[in-house]
């Protein structure tokens, strides 16, 4: 019995790793550009469909497909920021919410029109089903473990980029005070766009993981956005390690909730989020 519960917790932690990869890009855009991209989940689903197309029509392996999409999503994010989001940044909350909201509906319905409403999944081969028996009733799938370790690697790399590199210093400067950054000659629009390009890269990685681990359809975006948002808020705005912790909390809540009754999975995640949020609205590891 104890082993059963332990196993559930382990599965929840691993699911949290996937959620953390969804949330990583959102955490960056919230921390740097101070806005919540309502289309974040839909962009993850959009890239998942791109990966699906690459694997089915070109016969690429999922890993190769993700590698192909990385530059596409980097420039996609760069251009999205440069051509659209930058125009409404700093004009208050309403315009940026409305623009990303409109974008979300466009992406969802564009996918519906192109791919239809069917539920899809990318085939991951034997990798997908391989399991490690750890004893004591605890089984760990190789794929979820890979995703979890990748989530940790993403936090380490992003933390390094933000706090140990010249680019990171520039991004933080623009994020702290865009007027002062402009004054000392930083190209703030280009720096914001580069940051959004990095967000695009995280979107491609999370889309790759999501498309082989879970089913998705064109309307899956909002549920990914909500989970990512919950992880970001629980972790504390701007803290990447906090975002990982937040993802793990939501993951455990969902798996344990599903254990009680399969229909409780999503509701349990939301309720745990709301409860912790009411007790600690600033999040677990707030940075600002």
């Amino acid at each position: 019995m104890l082993g059963g519960w332990l196993n559930q917790i382990v599965q929840g932690v691993l699911l949290g790793g996937l959620y953390a990869t969804f949330a990583m890009g959102l955490s960056l855009s919230v921390g740097i550009m101070r806005f919540v991209n309502i289309a974040h989940g839909d962009l993850i689903v959009l890239v998942s469909f791109l990966i699906l197309t690459l694997t089915t029509t070109l016969g690429l392996s999922p890993l190769a497909a993700v590698l192909v999409t990385l530059p596409i999503t980097f420039f996609g994010g760069y251009l999205l920021q440069r051509l659209l989001l930058q125009r409404v940044l700093g004009k208050g909350v309403l315009p940026i919410i409305l623009v990303t909201f409109g974008l979300s509906i466009i992406v969802q319905n564009g996918l519906l029109g192109t791919y239809g409403a069917d539920t899809r999944k990318v085939a991951g081969g034997s990798f997908e089903t391989a399991t490690l028996m750890l004893g004591g009733g605890v089984n760990v799938g190789v794929l979820p473990l890979t995703i979890f370790l990748s989530a940790i690697a993403m936090v380490v790399v992003l933390d390094f980029v933000l706090y140990r590199t010249r680019l990171g210093a520039r991004i933080r400067a623009v994020s702290d005070d865009v007027a002062a950054a402009d004054l000392i000659g930083l190209p703030s629009a280009r720096i914001y766009a580069t940051a959004m390009g990095i967000v695009g890269v995280t979107i491609a990685i999370s889309a790759g993981f999501m498309s082989i681990w879970t089913n998705f359809d064109p309307t899956s975006g909002p549920s990914r956005l909500l989970v990512a948002f919950e992880a970001v808020v629980l972790g504390g705005l701007g803290s990447l390690w906090g975002t990982l912790a937040g993802g793990i909390i939501i993951g455990i809540a969902q798996v344990v909730g599903a254990q009680v009754d399969a229909a409780w999975q999503l509701l349990a995640g939301h309720l745990v989020f709301l409860a912790i949020f009411m007790l600690r609205p600033e999040g677990l590891f707030p940075k600002y």
């Binding site: 919230v30 101070r34 806005f35 919540v36 309502i38 659209l84 125009r87 409404v88 909350v93 309403l94 315009p95 940026i96 919410i97 409305l98 623009v99 909201f101 409109g102 974008l103 509906i105 466009i106 969802q108 319905n109 564009g110 519906l112 029109g113 909002p222 956005l225 909500l226 948002f229 919950e230 808020v233 705005l237 229909a263 999503l266 509701l267 939301h270 309720l271 989020f273 709301l274 949020f277 009411m278 609205p281």
Partner: protein
């Protein structure tokens, strides 16, 4: 444009508004049952749009979760009318009351989030409430439940009669929400709201009670959304979590309506709802593309003219067609202090 032409245009606009209202009053005698059903839907959506505009356009609470209150109203109405067997006509105002009661804890949660995060936060709350509604076995759980014939017949023995009754209820709800919100906007409170819309910090500096007005607007909107939920349940004759709490119908469409029509104006939601029904009736055959057109249109509006179509028209007009601001007093005459701020801080 010359002043006389402008005044002429204003009166044309008011005439059109009265003509529209007159058609709506005469509608049960003018139109067929299918048109009456469409007009009922129009009035419900208009009510919801007016309320989202009040909350997001004036009080700056950019909520993406207002569909929760429509769903709560729908479920409360069903609960009172079908499960508790209360007179259905009494169940409608009770549904509004329940929506108001739910608004208090929802507000306590989402007002803790700063503006940018409030949008998704309100969505999380709405999603939670929808999932919770799916756990109510008396309401048919996740798949929902239809209204029993005995209750439906109270609203009219024949379909035609029933549609007319429901239409009048929807008309009363829309009229009540428009007139009372108009009176609110004409009051001292409305002046404060206009000031918040134009410049939040400035409004705070001249003594507008920002948080008080936010709370008022949020609580003002909830019962009207609950009433709309009751009307919608009467029209659909059933409750179900995804339909009663539909984010597409009661939030996505509504945001497009208000943004395209003109956010932060009283005319905007009305124009937007009319345009939306025109787009939908002519473009619904193209399926998902009408969503894409609405999405592109709303992004274009935000980039080009954030005050929407009405903002575009209003540039050429000397005053509002539905007057909510008063003319500033003539210079040199002593005046009540409170009637000035909105005009003087309108320009940043």
């Amino acid at each position: 444009m010359k002043a006389s032409t402008g005044a002429f245009a204003i009166w044309c606009g008011r005439l059109a508004l009265f003509a529209g209202a007159a058609v709506l009053v005469a509608a049960p005698w003018l139109f067929r049952v299918t048109d009456i059903a469409l007009l009922t839907e129009f009035l419900s959506l208009l009510t919801i749009a007016v309320m989202w505009n009040l909350v997001a356009g004036y009080a700056d609470i950019v909520s993406v979760g207002q569909h929760a209150f429509v769903g709560i109203g729908a479920y409360a109405f069903f609960g009172f009318a079908v499960i508790a067997r209360i007179d259905p006509f009494l169940a409608i105002p009770l549904a509004a009351l329940v929506a108001l009661l739910f608004a208090i804890p929802v507000m306590a949660i989402i007002f803790r989030l700063r503006a940018a995060y409030l949008a998704v936060g309100s969505w999380v709350v709405a999603e939670t409430l929808m999932l919770a509604a799916g756990k109510l076995s008396a309401f048919g759980g996740g798949s929902g439940i239809s209204m029993p014939v005995s209750v439906v017949r109270i609203f009219g023995a024949h379909p035609a009669e029933r549609y007319a009754t429901i239409y009048w209820i929807a008309f009363a709800v829309a009229a009540l929400s428009l007139v009372s919100t108009w009176l609110l906007m004409r009051s001292r409170i409305g002046l404060g709201l206009t000031a918040i819309r134009d410049d939040e910090q400035g409004a705070g500096v001249v003594g507008v009670n920002l948080s008080g007005l936010r709370i008022l607007c949020f609580l003002w909107a909830a019962p009207f959304l609950g009433l709309a939920g009751a009307v919608i349940t009467l029209q659909k004759l059933r409750v179900a979590p995804p339909a009663s709490f539909s984010i597409i119908d009661w939030t996505v469409y509504v945001i497009f309506i208000v943004v395209i029509g003109g956010i932060g104006s009283f005319e905007g939601p009305i124009i937007g709802t009319v345009i939306f029904f025109l787009i939908r009736s002519y473009l619904s055959e193209i399926g998902v593309w009408h969503f894409i057109i609405l999405g592109v249109l709303s992004i274009a509006v935000v980039l080009v003219e954030p005050r929407g179509l009405w903002g575009l028209v209003r540039r050429f007009l000397p005053e509002d067609v539905i007057p909510i601001t008063r003319r500033p007093p003539l210079p040199g005459r002593p005046t009540e202090q409170a009637s000035r701020p909105a005009e003087s801080i309108a320009h940043e």
